[in-house]
Amino acid sequence: MSASSTTVTGTRPSGRVQLFLRRLRGGDEAAYLITLAGAISVLLVTALLVVELYQNSGVSRRAFGWSFLGTSIWDPVAGKFGALPFIYGTLVTSALALLIGIPLGVGAAIFLAELAPPRISDALTFLIELLAAVPSVIFGLLGIFILVPILRSAEPALRSLLGWTPLFQGPFYGVSLLAGGVVLSVMIVPFIISISREVILAVPADQREAALALGATRWETTWDVVVPYARKGIMGSIFLALARSLGETMAVTMVIGNDPRIHASLFAPGYSIAAVIANEFTEATGDLYQGALIELGLVLFALTMVINAVARVLVASTGKEGTA
């Protein structure tokens, strides 16, 4: 390749190189086929992934059918497996993460895109995108040793403030659905910020100018014109963050408490789909137990696929049509 690159810089290729080039010239077909093979392997790998998940969960699917999704008993000793406690735990922690993450993330994105001076905005965005690169096991480590103690000391305040709701009742040990949700919120905020910032920056300048010319203040322009214009993209970023938080494993596993029962209170320990797979997969004895765990994997796969698809449609549609 280094020899043939002489053609680009303009020197005349020598005889040997010319021969090489002539052979390459006929190689368009070959190159096409080789790269096509690369592209096809992506399809094959994905298809294989789905087939493997489907086949290896067969034992469990035949044994429980659709009731697997609606059963709340998880008893490996008696051979009874139901996914409901894990689906519940996954949904509750993700919902909590969104509840905290959306205002924080969208607020920061508005600040970075509309209000901050470009240089500060770039520096802060750089910093926040680094946050997205932190491995999830590190979040788990910080969750166990920092967040859980903090939540324990914050418990009396939370209880006196919100204790009248069923969500903040019962004993609190630190590891809980609440801790899982808070860790997840820190992890998804960078995603919401960086995508929302991009879509807000993509709003045409004349939209802002028109609003300002009509006498709107800076904030009114941002909140009533720019944000509604970008709302589909922002929604998309939220769905992407949701898909991530549903599939997030390590950080949640380390702080959620690992209790396969359904509790209404956020103070109670719970369990998520990803966490139960991570904890019990290597100790699953028997085909049924393992099949049930793989079926949980299949459920998680299906769930994240649907959410991702919705997110993609939303993000893609922002650029095309002018809303608002």
């Binding site: 043939s4 690159s5 053609t7 680009v8 080039l21 390459l24 010239r25 368009d28 190159a31 096409y32 790269t35 690369g38 592209a39 992506v42 399809l43 790998v45 994905t46 294989l48 992934l49 493997e52 998940l53 290896n56 924080l104 969208v106 607020g107 920061a108 600040f111 209000l115 901050a116 802060l124 750089f126 910093l127 926040i128 680094l130 946050l131 690169a133 932190v134 491995p135 999830s136 096991v137 590190i138 788990g140 480590l141 910080l142 166990i144 040793f145 800076r218 898909a243 599939g247 494993t249 390590m250 990803a274 991570a278 997969f281 290597t282 765990l293 793989i294 994997g297 696929m305 993609r312």
Partner: protein
């Protein structure tokens, strides 16, 4: 309201500073040379290091690169240079699909593919899990950087009589080389921190793992095991390991991003 959005930004950026600061204080303080050179000590004995986990992570990343980079790179070249048909949009969609698969599900995939037939955990299975995770990002970044090469370069090469293949090999790929390599580095940094796909593929090992057929320990898995163990000494080592892992990952990210941004918007 304006200051409120500023506060949001401050909280998000502050989280990173806090994480870095805390890990630095806690992890670096107990970091010593033994950490990089010694094997883990048996339970009850203090001291020891994670030399085997560092080597294990390196081996896993090598395997992952061998799986993920060729497929991703070739797929990226296809999409950027030969794409445009309905088939390419199917490939793009599938890439996004694969990118969205939760890491723990990738672990199950490698488990059913390698561990189940072989009936034992292996470095190979862990490497495969990480490698499959690399594919979608490798495709996307290769395609993006190849597309960023100006059309005029291609046309120039072809006007000089180069075939399409020659133009791609000698002009387009060299022009996009830096971007593609940076993308691979970022991709490796991302999977280097993955724990979930390794839990039941490469499993873990308290000793050296010779060859590719045996279970091996890896840095992120060690952090997990040590953090949930009930020994203070192990917690301390988990902090050290966390510090080392995070420093590596963030260093690669910072260098890669600075390189990309210094090459101007075209290379982005």
């Amino acid at each position: 309201m304006l200051s409120l959005t500023g506060l949001c930004t401050f909280v998000a950026a502050g989280a990173l500073v806090f994480i870095l600061g805390y890990l630095f204080v806690h992890g670096a303080s107990s970091l010593n040379w033994d950490f990089f050179t010694k094997l883990p000590k048996p339970v009850g004995e203090s001291g020891g290091g994670m030399a085997n986990a560092i080597v294990g992570s390196a081996k896993l990343l090598l395997l992952a690169a061998l799986v993920g980079v060729p497929i991703g790179f070739l797929g990226g070249v296809y999409l950027a240079e030969f794409g445009g048909s309905a088939f390419s949009s199917i490939v793009r969609y599938t890439t996004d699909l694969l990118n969205g698969v939760p890491s723990i599900v990738m672990g199950i995939f490698a488990y059913t593919l390698i561990v189940l037939p072989q009936k034992h955990f292996s470095t190979l299975a862990g490497g495969l899990a990480l490698g499959v995770m690399m594919i979608p990002i490798a495709i996307r970044s290769s395609e993006e950087f190849l597309r960023a090469v100006p059309l005029s370069l291609r046309e120039g090469a072809m006007a000089l009589g180069a075939s399409k293949t020659t133009a791609i090999l000698t002009v387009v790929i060299p022009a996009a080389k830096h971007g593609i390599l940076t993308g691979i580095m970022l991709n490796l940094a991302r999977v280097a921190g993955e724990t979930a796909p390794l839990l039941f593929t490469s499993f873990g090992n308290r000793y050296w793992s010779p060859g590719w057929e045996q279970p091996t320990s890896a840095l992120p898995v060690m952090i997990f095991t040590y953090a949930i163990a009930p020994y203070d000494d192990w917690h301390q080592q988990a902090w050290s390991a966390g510090f080392v892992l995070l420093t590596l990952v963030l260093a690669v990210n910072v260098v890669a991003r600075l390189m990309l941004s210094s090459r101007g918007p075209a290379a982005r």
